[in-house]
């Protein structure tokens, strides 16, 4: 059944659906417009960007050239990008490596007192980030971790891990228990069961979890700006360096913002394909 067929259920009025559909479009456009305007501005010159809003202009890549140009003594685009990519990938990878066995132990072979364990994991998120920053900063300083990639990797790992365990646990629970038992009888070891049955079936869930971790780690600003103001800074910090107190900077900032958005959009697109493929396979009921 196509979406168009699905839209009108029996007994519903067609015009009601049309109005609701229109409303949905308007809402979506309202949300999308600022992003669209940002992309548009990034291809303008500073004069065009700061003039009264116009849709038609001569597009230019000048501002992209400007923001990616490296100047000594200032956080460069390539530096920030490298830092961000390393921090995001390493922290997400470790999160998955730790969360998958943990979720398995909580979902498929529930350990003794699994409820308490689960609650403990989520309780680590109760503390507001601001409240934790001072002890975190002191610890980072004492361990010589200020202005290093390591400190952000550790922090993002800690922040993402509870969420990942909770999410993966619910996805693993969807894997039919008989399949794991069948694999067990068929001779698969614990690792074999995980690799050949649980992971392929929960792949859409793992992709979704990884995506959330990537998005958080890529966008995180507060810890990054507090702990790594000089070195090991990430893309969000680099974006702010394009705000200038002198003159116009709207087009330049737009270009920087677009560059900051691209990896997350790409990650979302890749994860979405994986998720849809998994769902289409009928793996998760």
């Amino acid at each position: 059944m196509s979406q168009a067929d699905a839209a009108v259920a029996v007994g519903e009025r067609r015009w009601v659906n049309q109005v609701l559909g229109l409303l949905a479009w308007v809402t979506a456009l309202l949300f999308f417009f600022p992003v669209f305007w940002m992309v548009l501005n990034s291809f303008k010159t500073e004069q065009d960007a700061n003039a009264s809003p116009k849709f038609f202009f001569t597009p230019t890549l000048d501002e992209y050239r400007e923001v990616t140009k490296s100047t000594s003594g200032v956080l460069s685009f390539s530096e920030a990008y490298t830092n961000s990519i390393v921090i995001v990938l390493v922290s997400t990878l470790i999160v998955l490596l730790l969360a998958i066995p943990a979720a398995y132990a909580l979902a498929i072979r529930p350990i003794h007192k699994w409820r308490d364990a689960l609650f403990f994991f989520i309780s680590t998120k109760f503390l507001p980030v601001v409240a934790s920053i001072l002890p975190v900063w002191i610890l980072a300083r004492n361990f010589d971790l200020l202005n290093t990639r390591m400190v952000l990797i550790i922090l993002y790992l800690g922040v993402n891990l509870p969420l990942a365990i909770w999410m993966l646990r619910s996805f693993f629970q969807e894997v039919p228990h008989e399949l794991i038992e069948a694999a067990e009888i068929d001779g698969a070891s614990l690792w074999g069961q995980l690799r050949s049955i649980v992971l392929p079936l929960a792949a859409p869930g793992i992709a979704a979890t990884a995506l959330l971790c990537v998005i958080f780690a890529w966008n995180e600003f507060f810890y990054a700006v507090q702990l790594n103001p000089v070195d090991g800074s990430t893309v969000p910090i680099w974006v702010t360096t394009n705000i200038s107190t002198r003159g116009d900077f709207l087009a330049k900032l737009s270009a920087a913002s677009v560059l900051a958005c691209i990896p997350v959009v790409l990650a979302g697109w890749i994860a979405q394909k994986r998720m849809i493929r998994g769902l289409a396979m009928g793996a998760i009921k």
Binding site: L179, E181, A182, I185, D186, L201, G282
Partner: protein
């Protein structure tokens, strides 16, 4: 040679007081197809899972051959299991599903392919080898699940209601196929079902379980004709055996008619004190032109080859239901008053439900 033996095997689920399987003692012969049957919650699936190693034992042991496997991991027990919902790996093709266990055992690829192909041929699965399980029909999936078990050539097959997801017609057909296949392969098989027709038609022997306790294990004919207790008598056979509580009065009476047992049974039942229950199969009860027991027709089920006449009889001040099996054609309408006679074996059960005699009987 693979015998299977349960010795005082007990399993109590955590958080429950009563054992799901209580001190089960059961010997299964080499190459035998033993059916575990019982109502929901009788412990039949638990007993099978204990043999599979999917459920730990709280007491007693389970042997496969001479080996005590009570603490052996499922994968080291040399068993194959067919699940009720087939448990096919959705992300693997039919061939990969069937070859999964062989791959785990480290069987070389060529041999694996050959064995999968050979098994697929015997089960008419060759055209589907490259397909995923999802688009297959219920019957095909069931065959893949069977194939996955067969290809391994294990010491014991375990089947947990493997036919219950098939439609009625296919179930009857597959039932025969599975029994034939098992006989041909000659591999010891433990088969769980709640369907007593399946149990009776497939099993070399049938073990009847109730509330975790083994009630009787015997050949299907013995279970039917000489049930050890009231539960087995009522559970095996469809429609169920007519069971009538005749109280403590002697001589035995059914309604206004007296029930006369032949041979030694008369003495056994007549001498004892206490409450008795008599049981007779629908085919032992006849609607006759003239007889000692009057009844009213409640329903007539005409199956073509046979007719089940459901009647009610006034017995000890209550109206009790009885079923008679008649050969067609049957002339009789609802609410008609008819006469009944017992022509066949009548079992007598004591107050504890145990059978104390079986003999021919008649109403006078």
């Amino acid at each position: 040679m693979t015998e299977v033996r349960y010795a005082e095997a007990t399993r109590t689920y955590p958080g429950t007081e009563i054992a799901a399987v209580d001190k089960l003692n059961l010997d299964i012969g080499d190459g035998e197809l033993l059916v575990l049957v019982g109502p929901s919650g009788s412990g039949k699936s638990t007993a099978l899972r204990m043999l599979a190693g999917l459920e730990p034992l709280d007491d007693g042991s389970v042997y496969i051959g001479d080996r005590d496997v009570s603490d052996v991991r499922p994968r080291d027990r040399d068993i194959a299991m067919v699940f009720q919902n087939y448990a096919l790996y959705p992300q693997l093709s039919v061939a990969e599903n069937m070859g999964f266990a062989l791959k785990q055992q480290g069987v070389p690829k060529e041999e694996r392919t050959a064995r999968v192909r050979e098994t697929a041929r015997t089960l008419d699965l060759e055209p589907f080898l490259d397909r995923k399980p999802k688009p297959l029909s219920g019957g095909q999936r069931q065959r893949v699940a069977m194939g996955r078990a067969i290809v391994r050539r294990p010491a014991v097959y375990l089947m947990d209601e493997p036919l219950s997801n098939l439609d009625a017609k296919l179930r009857v057909q597959t039932r025969t196929e599975v029994a034939e296949l098992q006989a041909r392969l000659g591999v010891t098989t433990v088969y769980v079902t709640h369907d007593q027709v399946e149990a009776m038609t497939m099993g070399d022997r049938v073990a009847v379980l109730k509330d975790g306790l083994l009630q009787q294990v015997d050949a299907p004919g013995t279970l039917y004709h000489r049930p050890d207790n009231i539960f087995v008598a009522g559970f095996i056979g469809s429609p169920a055996m007519n069971l009538v509580d005749v109280g403590e009065t002697r001589p035995l009476k059914l309604g206004d008619a007296s029930l006369e047992l032949e041979g030694e049974a008369a003495a056994v039942a007549g001498n004892g004190a206490g409450r008795l229950t008599v049981g007779f199969r629908p085919e032992a009860l006849r609607v006759v032109a003239d007889g000692p027991l009057k009844a009213q027709i409640r329903t007539v089920e005409d199956l073509g080859s046979e007719v089940f006449v459901h009647v009610t009889v006034d017995h000890l001040g209550q109206s009790i239901p009885l079923v008679a099996k008649m050969a067609p054609p049957f002339e009789g309408e609802l609410e008609d008053t008819v006469a009944l006679q017992i022509i066949g074996t009548t079992h007598v059960f004591d107050g504890g439900g145990l059978r104390i005699s079986s003999s021919r009987a008649g109403l006078r």
